[in-house]
């Protein structure tokens, strides 16, 4: 598929999902289907799917130790080794992993290569992906933590704290959250990056656009719900709590925009384990990140090596000692 077809097909898919839930509830009255049954099924798929993917990965042997390094490995004592760039022990690996997961360190190293007049090739740092990525993931995290107000009763105090910091500016009623603006901004910028950079556009598939549009759809429906349509949040929380206590109460009277939001979220989490979004689990299982660079100091045994029958020199000598002595070959043991 060319870039345009990929983009349009993903857009149509997300729009169709939104329409299904909007009309499914608004016109046909399938409140319980979209409010109870689908969320439960989606959550089950998500949990089983993620565990399955992780176990599936863990069953694949890593034949070699293949960390990617970008710093001085440990060698002679007077050469300064870099434990983060080229970890030589578990602490190095943990530190490196921490920076990777929480600060997206390898994205920070992103460079771009350009042909200039000459022709000369130049390399320069390209931090946009890192910046948009970090904006996106942290605002997503904060939004999810704030959503706990619907899922937990009594509401834990940290949710309260996050909410008041996030609504610090107190603009408009109800308050606009900083994380909402960052979230929509970041997803939009990630999208623009994908369509404006020719190389990135060229390698983009429908799956890349689908995830972006789905997330954008969730953000837009959430913000529309909060700032435009307005829904009965008491009803929403009663529904959410009833789901989390396994006493689902068929919802009634909640505006369809809520079901669009919830359905897109359900689709997202059901799709998650089988898509590129699974990088969230994959980062922990990447051999290029989670192994120490100790190829020279520790032997790494390929786990799929079958047990090779070896015949050591000692055994050999034991077997042929008599004959060796006879012809005058020196032996280790007399």
């Amino acid at each position: 598929m060319n870039a345009f077809a990929s983009l349009v097909s993903a857009l149509i898919a997300v729009a169709a999902l939104a329409a299904i839930s909007w009309f499914g509830v608004g016109a046909i009255g399938l409140d319980s289907v979209f409010g109870v049954i689908i969320p439960y099924i989606a959550l089950a798929i998500f949990i089983i799917g993620v565990v399955y993917r992780i176990v599936d990965w863990a069953r694949i042997p890593v034949p070699f130790r293949i960390p990617t390094t970008c710093g001085q490995a440990k060698s002679l004592p007077w050469i300064k080794a870099d434990n983060l760039e080229s970890p030589y022990n578990t602490w190095g690996v943990i530190g490196r992993m921490f920076l990777e997961v929480f600060l997206f360190r390898s994205l920070f190293r992103n460079t771009k290569a350009e042909l200039r007049e000459g022709p000369k090739i130049t390399y320069a740092s390209a931090k946009w992906l890192w910046l948009f990525g970090i904006m996106f993931h942290y605002s997503f995290l904060i939004i999810i933590l704030r959503h706990l107000r619907f899922f937990m009763e009594p509401i834990p105090s940290f949710v309260d704290a996050i909410t008041s910091v996030d609504g610090f500016f107190q603009i408009m009623v109800p308050t606009v959250f900083i994380s909402d603006i960052l979230f929509l901004g970041a997803v939009t910028l990630l999208f623009l990056r994908r369509v404006t950079l020719p190389q990135v556009r060229y390698i983009s598939l429908p799956a890349d656009y689908f995830a972006l549009f789905l997330i954008l759809g969730i953000g837009v429906s959430g913000i529309l719900m909060r700032n435009y349509f307005k829904v009965d949040l008491l009803g929403v929380k009663n529904l959410a709590i009833s789901l989390f206590t396994f006493h689902p109460v068929p919802p009634a009277g909640i505006h369809p925009i809520f079901y669009v939001h919830l359905f897109l979220v359900s689709v997202l989490i059901a799709y998650f384990p089988f898509s590129k979004l699974m990088h969230a689990g994959g980062v922990f299982l990447s051999p290029t990140r989670n192994l120490a660079n100790v190829n020279r100091s520790e032997r790494y045994v390929n786990p799929w090596n079958y047990p090779v029958k070896v015949h050591t020199y000692e055994e050999y000598e034991d077997e042929f000692r008599g004959k060796m002595k006879e012809v005058g070959i020196p032996v280790d043991k007399e």
Partner: protein
């Protein structure tokens, strides 16, 4: 499975995080807040469904009309007139802020700052200050 120990720890952490709301709510009977309307009247300013979802929009609109346009009379969808006032109209019927507004707001973690300036009905006075919680 390779590195089974580490993988299992990882999976347990994942499951614990994802199912946290289930554990947290376990054994806590979910009771939606009991709201005391606080009046004998039968009808709110607008329909109940409208008020539940949009009372903050209405209040915002009232505020703008009073403060910016000096218009103080609101005519609702059935033609009834109301004085557009937070502290004189809403609280005239909903005589207990703590047992009405606050109960619902606390349940949903909403903390309007209106009462920083506006005066809440009497019962509230002993708990003066910002007490939307």
């Amino acid at each position: 499975m390779y590195n089974a120990g580490k993988i299992i720890i990882g999976i347990v952490i994942f499951l614990a995080l994802i199912t946290a709301p289930f554990w947290y709510n376990l054994g806590r009977p979910s009771a939606p807040p009991k709201l005391e309307i606080g009046t004998q009247e039968k009808q709110c300013v607008e329909s109940k469904a409208f008020m539940q979802a949009k009372h903050m929009v209405l209040l915002d609109q009232w505020r703008d009309e009073v403060v910016r346009d000096g218009k103080r009379i609101y005519v609702n969808s059935t033609g009834k007139q109301f004085n557009m006032s937070l502290q004189n109209t809403c609280t005239k019927c909903h005589s207990s802020k703590t047992k009405f507004c606050d109960r619902c707001h606390t349940y949903l973690n909403v903390a309007p700052n209106c009462w920083d300036c506006h005066i809440a009905p009497k019962e509230q006075e002993k708990l003066a200050g910002r007490s939307d919680k």
